[in-house]
């Protein structure tokens, strides 16, 4: 546990009577992809929201880079290097893909209070932003407004933004959703290399991708983690098969 980049301990969150997160503990170690799977409504996104700071847990601790971050807001956690993509993409819709990434670059440079120099002629913003777009394969779409991108492209753009932030950990909520098989395959290859840069907590319904990528898998059902382990261990777990993997038995 000591060297975990991200550690969640005994996290609880209820929406009135509904226990969306029930005593959840998990961690993310350097260089790994930790997949979080579970049926619809299991509480996966709710957990991501609490880690990122958009939702406050009722109780429990979250440590990031060895520091407790439970009392910090979204902004501070992002600044520490927690990069995320949203299940329902969340972008500046009027801005081009490029400008969306440039904003992340400027945030990383800590320089949003400059009032005069035009950003569209600022190579120190444009070049790193283009580099991020290229890495996710979106360079040709750089000038297209985010609102006009396809679902899959918006997902890619969110990842490019997280890259540009220089994230120390990635929280990706269903990055494959809305992508065709071709897109999923290339994103799978990309995430496989990305883990070298920073570990990934990956929420995903695409089991091919999960089984290909994950170093560890945790299974969330009704807010509780019912199993956690390697891909093989989790696939063999009878409770998981019953609850999620659609085992007829």
């Amino acid at each position: 546990m000591a060297d975990a980049v991200l550690a969640v301990r005994n996290l609880c969150k209820s929406f009135s009577a509904l226990k969306a997160t029930e005593n959840v503990s998990l961690d993310l170690k350097p260089g790994e992809i930790h997949a979080l799977i579970g049926p619809n409504g299991a509480g996966k996104s709710t957990l991501i929201h609490q880690i990122a700071g958009t939702l406050a847990p009722d109780s429990g601790d979250i440590d990031f880079l060895g520091r407790p971050v439970g009392h910090l807001g979204v902004v501070e956690r992002a600044r520490m290097g927690l990069g995320r993509s949203f299940q329902v993409s969340s972008l500046a819709p009027e801005f081009s893909a490029l400008r969306n990434v440039m904003l992340a670059v400027q945030s990383r440079q800590g320089s949003s209070f400059r009032f005069f120099r035009p950003v569209m002629r600022d190579a120190s913003l444009i070049e790193p932003a283009m580099a991020s777009l290229e890495r996710v394969g979106l360079a040709t779409r750089a000038r297209v407004p985010a609102a006009e991108l396809s679902h899959g492209e918006r997902r890619q753009l969110e990842i490019a933004i997280a890259l540009a932030l220089g994230s120390q950990a990635f929280l990706l909520d269903e990055p494959m959703a809305g992508m065709g098989p071709e897109g999923s395959r290339s994103l799978t290859g990309f995430l496989d290399r990305l883990r070298e840069e920073a570990p990934i907590l990956l929420v995903e319904h695409d089991m091919d991708a999960v089984f290909a990528l994950a170093d560890r898998v945790s299974v969330l059902v009704y807010g509780r983690i019912i199993a956690s382990g390697t891909v093989d261990q989790v696939r063999a777990d009878p409770e998981v098969r019953r609850a999620y993997l659609g085992d007829p038995a």
Partner: protein
């Protein structure tokens, strides 16, 4: 080099407004110089509002507070200068002044401080709550001015002789127009620079998606607060000019009508468009003058025009003429 349609329209607007008072003088109608000055000043006030409303999406229904504070800065300083009595601020005393450069600085400073105070509280809310809170703060300044007999209370305060600028005789209407016009152009330049800057990017992104901005480590609140302060400063400057144009300040500069008119001007001209506030102010003053001469109910027709803009020409006059806005 190709010139965009919007740029061509902006240049035309700039030239029309500049030419107006000169043509008026040629035609022997000096009153129109005052109308053109009014357009420039209201345009300037609306440029201030456009920074908050257009770039930041902050629907402030309280910009009259800044407009009026700028006006009172001019009126109060001038009255002290005229009476030869220093202005006692408790800790220290400030001599009155009839120097516009000083008046403008004080107005901008006061507008900025007031915007900081109002923004600190109201920017914690959004949507309708933000509209209502900014309105409430502006109404507080309005009632404060009414109940402050030292500076005229309800009756307002006259500026006996228009304040002065070194080397320019501001008593000559066309000179005063040119002073106002130059400040308008300066404010537009500042607006354009801010819009294209890093700060402008963060501000516009905060309008489009606050959660996204926070998720990359930029605090929308801080960005909005700074924008609101700059916005208040520009509008306060226009208030000082307005007081000097009329040589009179009254609580009506602080009333919600004024805040509403500024919003109408921005919407008529084109929210977020560089020259939208100027186009809107020109339309507004023409409406007020032409229709106001024909009917008592000119504001009804203004309302109809506004409705038409909101329903059929989302980007106001500039949007109607130049098409949709592009962000690059």
């Amino acid at each position: 080099m190709t010139i965009s349609r919007e740029t061509a329209i902006n240049v035309t607007l700039a030239l029309v407004l500049l030419a107006m008072p000169f043509v008026a003088l040629q035609l022997g109608k000096p009153f129109y110089v005052t109308l053109a000055t009014r357009m420039a000043i209201l345009g300037l006030a609306a440029v201030g509002l456009n920074l908050a409303l257009g770039l930041g999406g902050l629907v402030s229904f309280g910009h009259a507070a800044f407009f009026g504070v700028g006006g009172y800065a001019a009126g109060i300083l001038a009255s002290h200068a005229f009476a030869g009595q220093p202005l006692n601020l408790g800790l220290f005393a400030l001599p009155g002044t009839n120097q516009m450069l000083v008046v403008w600085s004080v107005a901008v400073l006061a507008g900025g401080l007031l915007a900081a105070a109002i923004g600190m509280i109201s920017l914690r809310t959004s949507g309708v709550y933000f509209i209502m809170i900014t309105l409430a703060f502006a109404q507080m300044t309005y009632y404060f001015a009414i109940s402050w007999p030292a500076y005229g209370g309800e009756d307002g305060l006259s500026i006996t002789i228009r304040n002065v600028v070194p080397a320019i005789n501001t008593l000559i209407p066309i000179n005063y127009f040119l002073v106002c016009y130059a400040l308008l152009l300066t404010a537009l330049l500042i607006f354009a620079l801010i819009r294209g800057s890093r700060f402008g990017a963060a501000l516009q992104a905060s309008r489009q998606n606050e959660l996204r901005v926070a998720s990359i480590g930029i605090a929308p609140f801080r960005v909005r607060l700074v924008a609101f302060i700059i916005s208040g400063m520009i509008t306060a400057l226009s208030g000082a000019l307005y007081a000097d144009l009329n040589r009179f300040v009254s609580p009506s500069m602080l009333s919600w009508h004024m805040s509403g008119e500024l919003i109408i001007i921005v919407v008529l001209g084109g929210v977020g468009r560089l020259w939208g506030p100027v186009a809107g102010a020109m339309l507004f003053v023409v409406f007020e003058f032409v229709l106001g001469g024909l009917t008592e109910r000119w504001q009804f027709f203004l309302g109809v025009a506004l409705l038409a803009v909101v329903l059929f020409a989302r980007g106001g006059l500039i949007g109607f003429l130049a098409g949709r806005m592009r962000h690059g």
